[in-house]
Symmetry: D3
Subunit: 134 residues, 6 copies
């Protein structure tokens, strides 16, 4: 049984590599490399796979999962600039792929190993990534 | 090839264990344990995996799948109180996990074994479960 | 300038008139009259029309509007049975129309008269009502 | 007859008044005042009201409206920092209200006066504003 | 009080004027003039404004409105070619504006004059029209 | 890591087998067999699974994927009649299953074999198929 919990965070970011020229950054990252940042309403789904507890009928109490997502993701990234405010992206470009990977790593440390973990992260209604740690 | 059909049912429910105190129920189930019930617009997706019939171009005729979902799920649960009206939840707490599991069992009996079966059930826009029988 | 804030509450309800027979209730209200209640994820939009404050750029601070909606609507109706738990519906049938009207009355007392007030309430993805007090 | 065309732009912004202290900005604008910006997927709907041309069956050719929206809104604001990159917000705080007002002014100059003009701008799935110039 | 009911119909259509050349049709209607038709999932919202009946709590019984929409709109237009199968569009180009206008006329004849009537018709997630008979 | 890109195309189609009688076609395909075609807003999600490039933080540049989808799918099927205009369906009934399969084959030829490929195609909000080539 897999359970999924949705959360949203609104962040600024920019895609660029400091060691590349502006031209090279523009060529690779397009207008996502714009120097003064832009932003998104990121929609996150966190999915856990595990056994249903016969006493509660829950795979995991969603109140607990909601609180872990708040502490690890929303409090850190919501209304923040991922490049400037978040150490996690000091040397990691905040592409949707990398943000999903960082979120997965953070959640993996907090969620019991009995659960398989998957994160789904949408940057826009047209783009999303799915990551399960492999 | 996997095909999915969506259906919606609107039900009342309550999460509680009769052998637990009210305090214990409140601690575990929060305001979902409220004695007079609350309710949801449940959104169900039923997914079948199988071969495409070369004559029809269908994995399964969705008219048939729609009818099976109506008979097994919508007619029984829509505009009903899951705890009071549905024998399926006489001794099973109607968490999203357990409702999905009950629906999977009902549909599994009606859908040919050539098809793998998965159900996705959303309780709110923030919570959903995915179950494939394992 | 009109601003709108969305909120969601999950409630049980039943449509019936005590002075009518069960047959009459069934005829008028269909399966919404089912005795053991059913429920919905109600989606509420609260819209205020007023002038933009040139200092803040706000018609109204949405943090304040969000808090008023929480106190007047969500805390009272979410995870509740509208018929049994909410005095507002002691002698008022909780149709979408009447729920919207009750919410409008509650909010109107809390929101400064400089603002025109409108509420939009969806019961399902197919049904909604819009009410502005007239 | 009213016609509406949707467009999306992804921008960074920050709400603050330079002449206010950081404390005052935080008190009024909350975490929207965070110094390093955050961002949103803004969803814009542009609605025109006018007569249907009996020859074309159009109020206005949506290809033309789409192009005007692209030139006036998307090209200027998408993947930009509203505070730093857009002169329109040099002395105007980029609240949803003010962004809608700026967009309305820009479009009003480009759209024939025979059409009434309204813009609907969503910042998140919970917040939106509606502006028709009055 | 305004109530709205949603319905969906899936139709083929083509935008062109028989008395115009293919070049002129292509210039005005773009790829919507393609000779072999294309199609859409049209999303219709029908809104009625009227008084709430104090006995039922309804502006109008939505079961009745649903049935009228089925008879007048869905049965005629769903899974049909608007140009070839529907007399309503024999001399009327099936633009979203004109389809909305035709639907409004049909419904107006069936819905009591005590109710103001508005139809909202979406052709795609980016385009919609709103028509109230004026 | 899996990345997904969404695209939409609006097409007419009809489900029928030329060697079957009209009665047989109606029995199997229902009103989807209607002779003059109907249509849909098809929503396509294309998902690639592969490694994240440590230099760019991308599994694949979505600008490239977007362009491949445009060339292979949108340009061919959007505002077209799948039965009449598209050779791909000369001897293949354009069911959602078969359209997804045709799209998968087209994209598979254009997308590097290092990526696993999956397509998700929705015909309506109630029906979709998922295909990964097996």
């Amino acid at each position: 049984m897999k359970i999924c919990r949705r959360a949203i965070f609104n962040s600024a970011h920019r895609l660029f590599r400091a060691e590349w020229s502006d031209e090279k950054n523009l060529e690779v990252f397009g207008n996502c490399s714009h120097p003064n940042y832009h932003g998104h309403n990121y929609v996150l789904e966190v999915c856990l796979e595990g056994e249903v507890d016969p006493l509660t009928g829950f795979v995991m109490d969603l109140k607990d999962l909601k609180e872990i997502i708040r502490e690890e993701v929303t409090e850190r990234f919501d209304h923040r600039n991922l490049n400037l405010d978040c150490d996690e992206f000091a040397s990691v470009i905040p592409t949707t792929e990398n943000i999903a990977s960082v979120i997965w790593d953070k959640l993996r440390k907090r969620i019991d190993q009995q659960y398989a973990l998957e994160v789904i992260l949408s940057e826009t209604e047209n783009n999303k990534v799915i990551y399960n740690g492999r």
